[in-house]
Amino acid sequence: MTDELPTFSTTELALGEQVGKVAAPLIKQGMALDSALAAAYPIAAQQLIDAGEDSKEVEAALARQLSSRGVLPKHDTFAVSAPLHAALMESFEHWLKTLPEGAVRLDEVKVKANTGFEMVLYPNESQHAGFPHVKVQLQDGAINISIEDGRVWWRGSAACAVRRRPSAR
């Protein structure tokens, strides 16, 4: 078996569609999927023949779909083509290489607006909790300023002094 998908004739596609239409109300009434499909296949085939499809083609399609129903490829018989295999392995290896190790760097965004200061936004709350704020780099050090006034964004340790300024409101 290859990774090629099976192809279906138009009659088979029409039969599949009709089976879905016939089986849907049965499934909605509470019938199990398998028994609903088993009941629906002959009804749908008869409806197609009544609608003017060639009866031989419909019967062939019915036989093929009934024979392949519920059949899944076993893992030891399922082979993928060489290019697909190479692409899959490359994807897995790339994922292994890009797994973060240890502490993950904080997601930060340099603000592009020309505010006259070097500002850094921290939009990732899972790593940097709080309401939106920016870190502004000044000449002698950096301070964090909340963007929206009147919200207490900082939960903290004593390492960082927090104060309220009248000018910040």
């Binding site: 505010t115 200061f117 709350e125 939106p132 000044l138 050090g141 301070i143 964090n144 002094a161």
Partner: protein
């Protein structure tokens, strides 16, 4: 609110800049939030 060292040179100007560019900063904050943290 301000957090950090006290009385740095340029602090008042930084506060004013944040106030002036409030909307664009908020827009950028919302635009760069990770998708899993955006509430419906």
């Amino acid at each position: 609110m301000v957090a950090g060292k006290r009385s740095l040179r340029g602090e008042a100007a930084a506060l004013r800049a944040v106030k002036d560019y409030k909307q664009s900063l908020l827009d950028e904050w919302h635009a760069t939030r990770p998708d899993d943290q955006k509430l419906p």
